[in-house]
Assembly symmetry: C2
Homo-oligomer: 445 residues x 2
């Protein structure tokens, strides 16, 4: 444990901020340090994979013949530490306070990715064979949206073949509650451009006679959802696959206070959405349409009397399991076109899309992970979903045809992407123990 | 005419751009030159009035006892000339091409304001008494929205007493068609802020459960007008005073092609608005609600999955004759508050407001101007209105209790506020003749 902590501290001291072009050397140092950890753990074929952007770190151990193969994924890059003045301890000088280790990257993802490495090390450094086969893929562009890893996964699909991906980059639903995330929503993200003419016009000269692009955009947006916030596009949710009764029942047992969620977490004036769906269903298992931004005309200081000829809107639909992104995009584009009022032309461009990823909690690869976590934490593992997407999970699904086992060892208050990021070390230790037991269980299947 | 042209050219050479803080000395030169023109014309008490912002130029001639008094208004400041690369001749080197004199300020307003000065000069320099009394007030902040002139008019209301204002700062409805503008719409301009919570939220984590400020703003805006573009606020137009049947009939005789207006002038895809009102009525004599701009959330390059907590909208209602701006503001604020959907809080702040200004074409001060213009141009003067406002007209109405006679000698293609601004010199000459005849007619009443 001493040595583990020293390793983690040394890794956290490297400011591997992938989005900062001036930090490229530090990012590489982060990769090299990671490769050192894999070497020390006893993995074979450890190396840096060069390509566009920051290097990947890979390694494997494939001597458990006839046993399952897990693709262990993590990332060694971190978010920028700014705003620095809000940190109570230096972001790249890991500081232990109580059981928490504070540093940028403590939970996202160095402090959790290291769980997978150290679980392997337990076996191989002691000269014991691993009960399963593992392939490690640790990337350096998770926080900056680089596409090195996606190109690699597409090209190396054959060599990355596995039974499931294993990822430690998510959180527990609540402290002391071992959690596996078994569903991620998909997305169709697009840009809507509404035009009413060739140029902005003076509202004194033309007001009352010509179409107004901002008003037309408003009218389109107002028609896409009903008063309660439900998507008002015919057939949009037709293919949604509801979660099993078992999974839905498990949600009702999660410790949760809706008023606390509204006021203290989301800090919004009211919750909205389909009253026939539970809040968890609305976030995790139903599609959601959200406008992300709008711009058009004059919004500076003071008063300008222009009739805008163009408005731009960013919006997306989160997709539930079962929804085909291409079909959803088509329906959305059709609804937008149908909603355009007199005098307005609209153009909807899809920027990206991805299907939802779900894995059945009754699947053996999930079930055994849950059992291992329950043994270590002493309470039953809960199955949650996430309303967002984790792009790498979609990539693995698409190119390797496998689901991901997302074992959550972070905590809801770990301050990811924020000042004073930390990881709760007892959970990291329990994580290493749980993953080792998971290997045992899979090897014994 | 030679001397007149030399005077105008010299005035136009001064780049009196009031909005440019670095041009203050040039703006003052423009004022001093203007004072020189008033002196030369033979006016009494010519002086610069100092105050906040750029100086005013005043002068008077008040020896026509028992005769009407006209307050002659104009402005010596000009718009910036940028973008310079689009000018075919240097903006501050007046260039005569055909009958047109090209320069910044040629039509707005030096080349038209000089009509009033030169009409007076005809009498006084020849030793002939003016048939009417005149007070000149030429300001230097019309293009920059300074408040020197409004403070002056409010403070000097007693000394500015007159029977009407006389202004040459508008255009003819069409070439060869002498035009007097007898109506200006009022305005209520405001800013709407819609909030749904304290912070932007991640649409993956919260999408489908919380209110969205941009969507709420869209919903509010969509409710303020109906599908055809009519204001959908109960009682909003209750007090509108329709123009006389005579005035409306005169509009039907104006040379006008609606399809040309749509496609070539406004360059919009469709005309909208109340189908029960003519296009001129919709612009000139009916209220119009227009959104000027909207901003909220993310509108940069690419995709960001945020649920915005705030949206800001600029909007205004143009007001027709008879509408009380305070009442209109109240109704608008009430409609906005009533339209706010679940989870949204809206705040509407009025930035400024002004009532419409109308003058009856049958009023003798208008009638005689129309007759004088008809004599000179050889065709009947038409009465138009403007859908916008001219703030100084509202000020004169408010503080002096008089209407304005707006004699249009500019042309629709004079490129005001744009590159290659020009004035058609034959109209300036006819303008001087028409104003002199107007003085005669008023003196003979």
């Amino acid at each position: 444990m001493e040595e583990f902590l020293a390793d983690l501290r040394d890794w956290l001291r490297i400011p591997s901020v992938s989005s900062d072009p001036n930090a490229a050397a530090e990012v590489r140092r982060g990769a090299e340090f990671c490769a050192g950890l894999l070497e020390k753990a006893g993995l074979d074929n450890v190396r840096l994979v060069e390509g566009p952007g920051h290097p990947l770190v890979v390694g494997d151990w494939l001597h458990a013949e006839g046993k399952p193969t897990l693709l262990c994924y993590g990332h060694y890059d971190v978010q920028p530490a700014e705003p620095l003045e809000l940190w109570r301890t230096p972001p790249f000088e890991p500081t232990l306070i109580g059981g928490n280790l504070y540093a940028r990257g403590a939970a996202d993802d160095k402090g959790l990715a290291i769980i997978l490495i150290k679980a392997v090390e337990r076996y191989l450094r002691a000269g014991k064979p691993l009960p399963v086969n593992v392939k490690f893929l640790i990337e350096g562009e998770e926080e900056s949206g680089g596409d090195h890893v996606s190109l690699y996964v597409a090209e190396e699909a054959a060599s990355l073949r596995c039974d499931a991906a294993l990822i430690c980059d998510t959180e527990m639903f609540a402290p002391e509650l071992p959690t596996i995330c078994v569903g991620l929503r998909g997305i169709v993200y697009g840009e809507l451009i509404v035009r009413t003419g060739e140029t902005d016009l003076h509202s004194g000269v033309y007001g009352g006679t010509v179409a107004n692009a901002v008003e037309a955009a408003a009218r389109i947006l107002a028609r896409l959802k009903d008063e309660q916030g439900r998507i008002a596009i015919d057939g949009f949710d037709a293919d949604v696959e509801p979660p099993s009764a078992e999974e839905q029942a498990s949600w009702r047992r999660l410790p949760f206070d809706e008023e606390n969620y509204r006021g203290a977490e989301a800090k919004v004036f009211a919750l909205v959405g389909d009253p026939n769906q539970s809040l968890f269903a609305r976030i995790w298992a139903r599609p959601a349409l959200e406008v992300h931004g709008i711009g058009g005309g004059f919004t500076g200081q003071g008063a300008k009397t222009v009739i805008p000829c163009e408005a731009v809107v960013k919006l997306s639909a989160r997709l539930a399991a079962g929804q085909d992104p291409a079909r959803a995009a088509r329906l959305l584009a059709g609804a937008i076109a149908a909603a355009a009022p007199l005098g307005a032309r609209s153009e909807f461009r899809v920027l990206h899309m991805a299907a939802a990823s779900v894995i059945d909690p009754r699947n053996a690869l999930v079930r055994e992970a849950a059992a291992a976590m329950q043994e270590v934490f002493g309470v039953a593992t809960v199955f949650t979903r996430s309303g967002g997407s984790i792009p790498i999970v979609g990539l693995f699904q698409k190119h390797l045809g496998v689901g991901a086992v997302l074992c959550g060892f972070g905590l809801p208050d770990d301050n990811l992407h924020a000042p004073n990021e930390k990881v709760y070390l007892p959970n990291v230790a329990r994580g290493i123990e749980a993953i080792a037991r998971y290997f045992e269980r899979l090897g014994a299947l």
